[in-house]
């Protein structure tokens, strides 16, 4: 029983973390048809800026609780300008090229940003652990959970709800949905696709950085931290259906629970099982659990 609770909560914590990263990835793919490998770098930048800013903030003697606002702020300062520069300064010149070329362009950006991190922050690890223990713990029999981790679940819910509301109840969101559904139709309707692209990419970038910023207080932030995340987020996106918002939710929960179950019950399978699930889903539903099937072109 306790094992079940542990698996469920560990799984949801992991799911929340990967959801925040993956939903940005799936949004960008859905709207722009770009599988953004540089999303991993945004995650890492978010973590670095957060660790650095929180350190500055706390050493200046401000109220510790305010550090959560600093984490949020870090994601915005990273995501907005970097998203804007990447989309306006580089990607827009590539629109119309093959999807694979687009992936490679973001791969090149990823390589560049990996070293940029070392240029800016050096090779030393950064840590700003304070916010992690600020919220105290919750005890469930033998288990102790950090409330910070549990708050990640709440954060993921808020992010999800905001995105859902944004997509369904704002004008930009509705434009986005049209673009996701049919880009040519959107243009025909007079939607400014260029602007939609820029906004989407910035929102996606903020989400990537947000995932990193809120991971920062848990870990020692080091170069190379974005590499592992990106391929996990890919798995979530592919399982859920590329470009599908509910897909990202379900994909993240599925991956989180399965991984947690593996760690508790069969630690040997931890890495293997995530990709096995991804392959299984692709075999039976190549478009992912919530993806739209595409008609074959004639």
């Amino acid at each position: 029983m306790l094992t079940l609770i542990a698996i469920l909560l560990d799984g949801l914590i992991f799911a929340s973390w990967i959801f925040i990263v993956a939903v940005g990835l799936t949004l960008i793919f859905g709207v722009m048809r770009i599988l953004n490998i540089a999303h991993g770098s945004l995650y890492a930048f978010g973590a670095y800026v957060a660790a650095w800013l929180v350190g500055q903030y706390l050493s200046a003697g401000y109220a510790p609780m305010g550090s959560f606002a600093v984490l949020l702020l870090s994601a915005i300062i990273v995501g907005v300008p970097m998203g804007f520069i990447m989309e306006r300064g580089l990607l827009r010149f590539m629109y119309g090229r093959d999807e694979v070329i687009m992936v490679l362009v973001t791969y090149a950006v990823f390589l560049i940003l990996e070293d940029a991190i070392m240029l800016i922050w050096g090779t030393d690890a950064y840590f700003a652990f304070e916010p992690y223990s600020l919220l105290g713990n919750t005890e469930i029999e033998a288990l102790v959970f950090s409330n910070y981790d549990l708050a990640m679940i709440a954060l993921a819910l808020v992010v999800g709800a905001l995105l859902w509301w944004g997509l369904n109840h704002t004008r930009v969101g509705k434009y986005l949905q049209v673009v996701i559904h049919d880009r040519e139709l959107a243009q025909a309707l007079g939607i400014n696709v260029t602007r939609v692209f820029t906004i989407t990419f910035m929102v996606g970038a903020v989400l990537g950085a947000l995932g990193g910023a809120f991971t920062a207080p848990q870990i020692s932030v080091t170069p190379g931290m974005g590499v592992e995340v990106i391929v996990l987020a890919f798995a979530v996106v592919v399982i859920g259906g590329m470009g599908s918002f509910p897909g990202a939710v379900v994909g993240a929960v599925l991956v989180g629970i399965i991984r947690a179950a593996a760690v508790h019950l069969l630690p040997q399978l931890e890495l293997f099982i995530i990709y096995a699930v991804m392959a299984l889903v692709l075999v039976f539903r190549p478009q992912g659990l919530f993806g739209q099937a595409e008609a074959r072109k004639i």
Partner: protein, 445 residues
């Protein structure tokens, strides 16, 4: 999307040759260049340590600083007597630094480049067990004197023997057996144990040797879980839940680098250290960085009597002062380990030079001088008695972490030192077999 053009008219033999010519020309030009840069009075040392990635901050950088401290001192003849001669066999040292990250296969390729393209005379380096095991056979193949200061896997000299490879520390058997002894002495009631170790040779060996030794000393003990997270995983949420749920008396971990810092943070926040005694076999490297963030009472070692655990000797005092002059922070055990490797190398070079009546000795002569060398390093005596004279035979020390709030420094309480004969297999015997066979012949003081 551009259509692929038919390739009939594309190319003639000429133009393929042009491409190949470029490769050959570049290789030749640069292959020839470093040779003339090699002057007679300098000794070129390739230094391979983690300079990027998760292992750089707590490990690679202090290790490199240890090398730099020694190079400056050796070149200037500033180490106290009897090591106060300038240079190695009179030659000034010139170092080339290479990043150790990227995996063993890449390191093997880079090792070849160091030897064949950069023409180094000696290689000093390798922190990761995976890398040192992969590189050692290539070092012998290329006849390149290679001194390994940190890598700790017992497999290096137990599964093979090398002529040109030296290791100036004990292997991880020492750490694991020492850990079991320390628990036995200080926490005799501990019965259930758990492990969280990185998923590669280092972590697997460390854990196996520890739990075998522990079981031998406490036959009624029991393993409740063994976790092997991937190296540099970062978050250990689920693993910590498992450890909390199983409530072991003792948690053994050989995690290191950024992983160790992340684990300590997450474990401490969730009170894991209050429920179980945590033993970090290599926690000393991170303790000054973590400071007050490391909970008191965690059992820590420095993979030997290094750092704060080192004996106070004039040489040790000199090293601490020289290091702190250059880098402000106190030296941690990776700094000690690279420093004593450099010192051993200098002694071997000087000895070999003397034996031939002065001048630069050949690699073979240095190898001969290095084998079974016994020398006084920084607070420790290095006795190259293992692996046919290629590996050091040293003891270790464990203590419990305490953050002294009044001075703001990280310290130890309840320190125990273990003699080399207590925590190592007798010479010529495999460590794991020795533990399984009941650790016969161990002499503990």
């Amino acid at each position: 999307m551009s259509a692929v053009k038919p390739m009939r008219k594309i190319f003639s033999a000429r133009f393929l040759s042009v491409g190949l010519g470029v490769f050959i020309a570049v290789s030749l030009l640069t292959g020839a260049a470093p040779q003339k840069a090699q002057a007679a009075e300098t000794l070129k040392i390739g230094v391979v340590l983690f300079l990027s990635g998760a292992a750089a901050g707590p490990f690679g950088i202090p290790a490199r600083n240890g090398v730099e401290t020694l190079i400056a001192a050796i070149n200037g003849g500033k180490i106290p007597a009897p090591y106060n001669t300038k240079g190695m066999a009179g030659a000034q040292i010139e170092a080339v630094y290479i990043d150790e990250s990227g995996g063993a296969t890449k390191q093997v390729t880079e090792f070849r480049n160091l030897v064949q393209r950069q023409k180094v005379d000696v290689v000093v380096g390798y922190i990761s067990s995976g890398n040192c095991i992969a590189v050692a056979p290539v070092a012998d193949e290329l006849k390149m004197l290679t001194v390994i200061p940190i890598c700790g896997t017992p497999r290096l000299f137990e599964d093979a023997s090398y002529k040109y490879v030296f290791r100036t520390i004990s292997d991880s058997i020492t750490d694991s057996v020492g850990a079991a002894h320390y628990i036995k002495e200080k926490f005799p009631n501990a019965r259930t144990i758990a492990g969280i170790n990185p998923n590669y040779a280092w972590g697997q060996d460390s854990w196996r040797d520890f739990h075998l030794a522990f079981k031998l000393m406490n036959p009624d003990s029991e393993i409740v879980t063994e976790q092997f997270p991937k190296l540099f995983a970062g978050t250990f949420t689920s693993e910590i839940s498992v450890l909390l749920r199983k409530k072991p008396d003792v948690i053994h971990s050989s995690l290191w680098g950024a992983d160790l810092e992340s684990f300590v943070n997450q474990a401490a926040a969730r009170g894991l250290n209050k429920r179980s005694k945590i033993i970090l076999t290599i926690g000393e490297a991170n303790m000054f960085r973590l400071g007050a963030k490391m909970p008191d009472g965690i059992i820590i070692s420095a993979r030997g009597p290094y750092g704060v655990l080192a004996r106070q000797t004039p040489l040790n005092d000199w090293f601490r002062a020289a290091y702190q002059d250059l880098f402000t922070a106190p030296p941690v055990y990776p700094s000690y380990m690279t420093a004593q490797a450099m010192l051993g190398l200098k002694i071997a070079y000087d000895k070999a030079s003397q034996a031939r009546g002065g001048g630069m000795p050949s690699t073979e002569e240095v190898v001969k001088a290095f084998e079974y060398l016994k020398y006084e390093a920084f607070g420790i005596t290095i006795d190259m008695a293992y692996g046919n004279g290629h590996q050091a035979f040293t003891g270790t020390a464990y203590g419990q972490f305490k953050f002294d709030k009044s001075t703001g420094t990280a310290t130890f309480t309840d320190i125990m030192w273990f003699d080399p004969e207590c925590v190592n297999a007798p010479k010529g015997m495999k460590g794991a077999a020795w533990i399984k066979g009941g650790m016969k012949g161990a002499k503990c003081g």
